[in-house]
């Protein structure tokens, strides 16, 4: 049976990862034989990457102070001042969350997942009363709930041998849907977070990659439809030791 003709919609959905795997393969085959379509698809992918390169800095930048200072010309509502101020506190609290690196510099090396995971780490680890939505005492419920929301069967690594106890987990908004964050803590109260998200693309397992954003180190890797990022404010060797343990448990 021959494949249905490739449409304009197919080309865009191919770029945006919106095709079912079978169709994705058919379009890939089409592109191998149609140079102009392949050029367009490549250009659109580059467009998407450049949009992220240029504008993703806004995701991790502290909400600027001038936003919540009255300028007289516009009425500033208390709620927004609260929101902006709280965001600023959350964002700058632990990590001094300002993006020092130039957008055009090393951004490309720090992928989306590392950035999002590092930010989620910086936002939630300082929480004293509500660091997680579901605590480790309800681990079974936690894993069932997050597996259901992410649409895949999740496993929670146990890091007691590495000196870290599970605190619990929470659901987060990810780039394309729900993501999960598991939090761990050692005897001194040092916290690590494991961020997990699902992607439409099935990827061959990647090696560990390391990224650092203002004191938060992240080891991240992709495995099938899942992407993982382990974040912590510990030194790199320690983080790698734990990342390795996580990987071993997820891939026995």
């Amino acid at each position: 049976m021959s494949a249905a003709p490739v449409t304009e919609l197919d080309l865009h959905a191919y770029v945006d990862g919106g095709l079912p795997p079978g169709r994705q393969a058919e379009v890939a085959q089409h592109l191998a034989q149609h140079e102009e379509d392949a050029r367009r698809v490549a250009a659109y992918r580059v467009q998407n990457e450049r949009l992220h390169d240029v504008y993703d800095a806004l995701l991790v930048e502290a909400v600027p102070a001038h936003l919540h200072s009255a300028d007289g010309a516009r009425k500033r509502r208390a709620w927004y001042r609260y929101a902006a101020a709280a965001m600023l506190m959350l964002a700058s609290g632990t990590a001094g969350w300002h993006l020092h690196e130039r957008v055009a510099g090393t951004r490309a090396q720090t992928t989306q997942i590392a950035r999002v995971a590092a930010m989620a780490h910086a936002v939630y680890t300082p929480e004293v009363r509500h660091p997680v939505e579901v605590g480790a005492d309800q681990e079974e419920h936690l894993v069932r709930w997050l597996s259901k929301r992410l649409g895949t069967s999740l496993k929670i690594p146990h890091l007691a041998p590495q000196g870290y106890a599970l605190v619990g987990g929470r659901l987060l908004p990810g780039e394309r849907g729900p993501a999960a964050q598991f939090m761990y803590q050692d005897a001194k109260g040092q916290r690590l977070t494991l961020y997990v998200r699902v992607s439409n693309d099935v990827r061959a397992p990647t090696a560990f990659r390391f990224a650092q954003e203002n004191g938060v180190g992240v080891f991240y890797w992709l495995d099938g439809r899942l992407g993982y990022a382990l974040s912590g404010e510990t030194d790199r060797a320690e983080l790698l030791r734990v990342a390795d343990a996580v990987y071993q448990q997820l891939n026995p």
Binding site: D16, Y44, Q47, N48, L51, L58, L59, R74, V103
Partner: protein, 176 residues
Amino acid sequence: MDQPVETFATRAMQYIPRLRRYARALTGDNSAADDLVQDALERALLKQALWREGTDLRAWLFTVMHNIFINQVRSAAANRLVPMDDVAADAFVDTSPVQATDRLEIRDLDAALQALPDDQRAVVLLVGLEQMTYDEAAKVLDVPIGTVMSRLSRGRERLRSLLQRTPETNPLKVVK
């Protein structure tokens, strides 16, 4: 338990960075973007009763912000230069061989985006930057999905031709 208002505000706050990212790319200007985000958050707070629990808050906030943007564009239209329409912009498309592009400077991408018609730029950004599905983008913009597709298609193609040109040979002056 938190008060309902606080819960909504806290949830909405999570999306401030994403709203700012989109607003910045959409308006091409930092302060215009922050004004737009602030207007959207104020409106969202006032209209929060209209948001239904269990539905996508991100999409709802983007819808609120987009509506404000459209109204601003419309009310400002009388005082602005008329945006270049499709035909005129196509006349500028350079057909000379493509030169290998170096890393794109921010202002180049900004400028190219600003050269797109507003509705095409919005779709290119919602899909390419915000990574919404076509369906989600259609809901945010309140247009049929077919319209999203045609705007995406024209927007990306326009952007491609704009970005392929080197600055020296670029005949299109874009106001920063």
